[in-house]
Amino acid sequence: MDNPTPMLAHRQEHDAEPSQLGDAALLARIGQRDESALGLLYARHSAVLFSLACRMLSDPLEAEEVLQDVFVRTWKHAPSYDPTRSSVFTWLVMIARRQCLDRLRARRSNPLRGFATPSLDDLPPCSDGRQEEERSYSEIGEMVLQKLALLSEEQRRCIEMAYFEGYTQNEIAMHLDEPLGTIKARIRRGLLKLKRVFPFPHD
């Protein structure tokens, strides 16, 4: 079947039910101050973003703050979203990661700041009332873990320390007791290998 013309596609998208719209179309509606579109985008991606923030920060309260910040920023900056630079999912994840990194690096720059935080185990698993295992992953999450297993242990460790734990290059080198050049090379090779096994965009 032929693709619809751009004009027709635009009209179809304009007339479509919000729940049937793609992420980019939802973001366009958010730019027009459509709160229901924000709710739909939240319903689609909040669990992944919250899970990511929980893993990075190990603090559900801070993770919730990050989640709120992400969608408040989405509301404010939706008109500036450039679809040629990233998918909406990647855009959201980048905002969330940046928020988490700022918090992690602020924590590390102030070593005396420490306080008790609620346990992640107190949080409900992401399900619709069904009983899940304590560490369950989404279907795509399982697939990503399988792809990650294709990396060498050293490459995976470097990328995870950078991505999830927010360590800088120098901190990773110090932590693993390896030269900085080795760390950079491992990250580059690891990402190139991942790029080959993830050939598709998110949207």
């Binding site: 994840v93 991505y163 030269p179």
Partner: protein, 419 residues
């Protein structure tokens, strides 16, 4: 065309690992290069798949309500818009309420007789004046305490900053020390390995043949075991004699070292000159490089070297026990393999025209380690050992580049070893 260095910077960029200055410089390049921009997008899409690789957590139900309460709602038109603008002034409604209350009190008081108001107010004002003085003094005391605590806090913050700076310095020193320790441990291990080779023959195990492997690309590659032994051992005044055909069937020259001619040929001892001694003179193998400033980068034939990277030259040696028909291979610092490639070990035996395939080396940490090997043939006498880089499936004959060879026989692809 995106070079390796740029690709590496792009990888660091998508992981937020660049410093502020590096990030700005890279983004400036991004704006000028659509190809680089596409590559960064691909890497960003790739790396953010990792967000899925986290255990699923459901955000609290209150989160969405909190978001809605935080977002700026679109103002309506007309009266609603004006009310909305008033709503944005935080104190507008309380201020209006206070004004209304003040007006009501004023009207109520004005209704009383002026005299009664005056007497009562005079009494109240005297008492109030006393309380006012006490409160003023108390407030001043609080201000003094606040200033003192502010000073203490400032001093504590400065002290904390000094401690933190010292902590970072110590951490860096610790890091350097650990590198130096690792280097010394590595050198010690090499010396132990060499001592093992050197001393075992002295215990009477004279049937070991020690084969030195040298980097085939090294300018010292033509210097074999015997040459090095002669050169090194001559320097310390030992008498060197050759023991040709010491082990039947070998063409390997074993070197016997006989201080003052004390031992005869039957008690000849094998000696070894490891490539470690050779490489110590070679560029890029000095220990000082371990603490090289990471900001310095050396240009090599392959382009800019990674900053702070210490390059060791590959080296190794092999010991073959003829009686047990088993060998050990010790290698150091084999280069990192490209994808889909393996290191394959070969031995050359005068009785065979072609190199004998021993097998593929297991994956070694940092290209360093020791492996035992056997050959599925009877009575093999290796005179040369080769390590080549081959495709992952392995090769029946050495076809890839020779990484190490020893003790200096001819390249098998150029013909049989020299007798």
């Amino acid at each position: 065309m995106i070079d390796r260095q740029t690709e590496e910077t792009a990888s660091l960029y998508v992981l937020d690992l660049l410093s502020e200055a590096e990030r700005r410089a890279f983004e400036s390049r991004l704006r000028k290069s659509p190809e680089l921009s596409d590559r960064v997008r691909e890497l960003a899409e790739t790396v953010n798949h990792l967000a899925h690789a986290t255990p699923k957590r459901k955000p609290p139900d209150r989160a969405l309500d909190a978001i809605y309460s935080r977002i700026e709602r679109r103002p309506a038109r007309g009266l609603s818009a004006k009310l909305a603008r008033v709503n944005r002034i935080p104190a507008a409604w309380p201020l209006a309420a206070c004004m209304m209350l003040g007006l009501a009190v004023f009207l109520l008081v004005a209704d009383r007789t002026g005299r009664a108001i005056l007497e009562q107010d005079l009494r109240d004002s005297g008492a109030a004046f006393e309380h006012f003085g006490e409160a003023l003094e108390e407030m001043r005391q609080i201000e003094r305490d606040r200033d003192r605590l502010g000073d203490e806090l400032s001093a504590t913050e400065q002290e904390l900053a000094r401690i933190h700076e010292r902590y970072r310095e110590l951490l860096e020193e610790h890091h350097d020390t650990r590198h130096a320790e690792a280097y010394l441990r590595r050198e010690l291990q090499k010396m132990r390995d060499q001592a093992f080779v050197y001393h075992l023959p002295r215990e009477g195990i004279a049937r070991l043949v020690v084969i030195e492997l040298v980097d085939s690309s090294s300018e010292f590659a033509e210097f074999g075991f015997v040459d090095q032994a002669l050169q090194r051992l001559s320097e310390i005044g030992h008498q060197i004699t050759y023991a040709h055909q010491l082990i039947p069937g070998t063409r390997q020259d074993d070197v016997s070292v006989s201080p003052s001619g004390e031992w005869d040929a039957d008690e000849s001892r094998s000696a070894v000159v490891t490539s470690g001694q050779i490489l110590r003179d070679a560029p890029g193998a000095v220990g000082e490089d371990l603490v090289r400033d990471p900001s310095e980068a050396q240009e090599t034939s392959e382009g800019a070297e990674e900053p702070g990277r210490v390059r060791y030259q590959p080296s190794g040696f092999s010991i073959w026990d003829e009686t047990e028909q088993v060998g050990t291979l010790s290698v150091y610092d084999l280069p990192e393999l490209p994808e889909n490639a393996v290191y394959q070990l070969w031995i050359e035996d005068p009785a065979h025209d072609l190199p004998i395939n021993v097998g593929m080396l297991p994956e070694l940490d940092d290209g360093t380690g020791m492996v035992y090997y056997q050959v599925d043939m009877e009575q093999v006498t290796p005179v040369n050992v080769l390590i080549t880089q081959e495709p992952r499936a392995g090769s029946p004959y050495p076809a890839g580049p020779v990484i190490l060879r020893g003790p200096g026989g001819a390249d098998p692809r150029r013909g049989s070893p020299q007798p």
